[in-house]
């Protein structure tokens, strides 16, 4: 009896660690999936765009007004002229509560590949053929400016 109890404890520890590892890996895989997916779509362009310092310029704001404001509104409050006709309301970019739970990569992917690509509403089209990766990175930063929030 006294001999088997350390082995039992050891076995139990191994079991706990194993469960812990799989539990974590599942979780971390879920968290990192969107950026991985973005990379797999266009590895070269993403790598090229990331090292450059991204800043919000007047042109970024103009781009937002030109394309995004149709649904997200002139001030980004989710109240654009299309908003009340959509089955899912456009995101309010001035509210941090939801946006701070999303990563920049998730923003990038939603803009580039559309809402469905990140499991959100299909109302949001893909802008990857319209906007360059660097412009999309700027828009991500601009949304962070609008919501006054960072990814948690």
């Amino acid at each position: 009896m006294t001999k088997s109890s350390p082995t039992f404890i050891l076995n139990y520890c191994i079991f706990l660690i194993a469960v812990g590892i799989t539990g974590c890996s599942e979780k971390s895989a879920e968290e990192t999936r969107p950026p991985l997916k973005a990379e797999s779509h266009s590895p070269a362009s993403l790598e090229e765009a990331t090292p450059k310092p991204v800043v919000v310029t007047e042109k970024t704001r103009e781009t937002y007004q030109w394309y995004c404001a149709q649904c997200h509104g002139i001030q980004g409050k989710g109240d654009g002229i299309n908003a009340r006709f959509l089955t899912v309301p456009p995101r309010n970019h001035t509210k941090a509560k939801y946006l701070e739970t999303r990563t920049d990569e998730q923003f990038f992917e939603a803009i580039k590949f559309g809402g469905l690509s990140v499991g959100r509403a299909p109302c949001m089209p893909a802008w990857g053929n319209t906007l360059s990766d660097s412009t999309i990175h700027e828009l991500v930063l601009y949304i962070r400016e609008l919501c006054q929030c960072e990814a948690l």
């Binding site: 007004q65 030109w66 394309y67 404001a69 149709q70 649904c71 002139i74 109240d79 654009g80 002229i81 299309n82 006709f85 959509l86 559309g114 809402g115 469905l116 299909p122 109302c123 949001m124 089209p125 893909a126 802008w127 053929n129 319209t130």
Partner: protein, 219 residues
């Protein structure tokens, strides 16, 4: 003296087709609200420098006599676009039957050359293709977010920042839709619509689907 005569002749030859075609368009001052060439800034009304490629003559003639609202959020070139001030009454002047006929003729003569003819050999969509394309219109390409269309019950659905497609099947030429989807830059330097890179089959089926949208199917 002889060279002067040649110059005069040349000038007359150059101008005469323009004059005879553009006369009523000029007289009615269409160019105050519409661009008749790709040059210059976008105006409050839709571009007409490819009107002959875009519209169906029968629709144009009817519209000019009895204009209906196509962009209830105003044209993208209107300073009040995006401000949420919806158009309640049609601002386009109504013309007499005779004038509408002549302007239609003049507009149908304004075309861009060398548009690919690919659409003419298309066959109607099967029931399955129509269901698939409707799904793509709403979910894959998100067209419905900015364009009004008809749902299965014949009710108008969709956003208003783009032109309504509820009567697109009577208003537009299939060939123009297919060309617009393939290369919008041919017609506009910078549209507010996303650029799509869909394969030819999807593009032509989407074109066919848009052509099925007609006022008479509205309930």
């Amino acid at each position: 003296m002889k060279s002067f005569l040649y110059l005069l002749m040349g000038g007359w030859l150059l101008c005469s087709p323009m004059l005879s075609h553009a006369s009523l368009i000029q007289e009615k001052k269409c160019s105050e609200c519409h661009r008749l060439s790709k040059d210059g800034n976008e105006k409050s009304g839709p571009d007409l420098f490819y009107a002959g490629n875009k519209f169906q003559a029968s629709w144009l003639k009817q519209y000019l006599q009895n204009p209906a609202i196509i962009r209830s959020a105003r044209g993208t070139g209107d300073p009040d676009f995006l401000k949420g001030i919806q158009v309640n009454s049609q601002k386009h002047p109504a013309l007499s039957k005779k004038d509408a006929g002549q302007i239609t003729q003049e507009l149908m003569a304004i075309t861009l050359l060398n548009l690919p003819e690919e659409v003419d050999r298309l066959e109607p969509l099967t029931k399955g293709q129509k269901a698939k394309t409707k799904y793509q219109f709403e979910r894959t390409f998100s067209c419905i977010s900015c364009h009004q269309s008809l749902n299965l019950a014949g009710k108008v659905r969709g956003g208003i920042s783009g032109p309504s497609l509820v009567n697109a099947g009577n208003r537009l030429q299939a060939r123009w839709i297919a060309n617009w989807l393939k290369s919008p830059n041919t017609f506009s330097n910078k549209s507010r619509m996303p650029v799509y890179k869909m394969d030819d089959e999807a593009r032509l089926q989407l074109t066919q689907f848009i052509m099925t949208l007609k006022n008479e199917n509205k309930r």
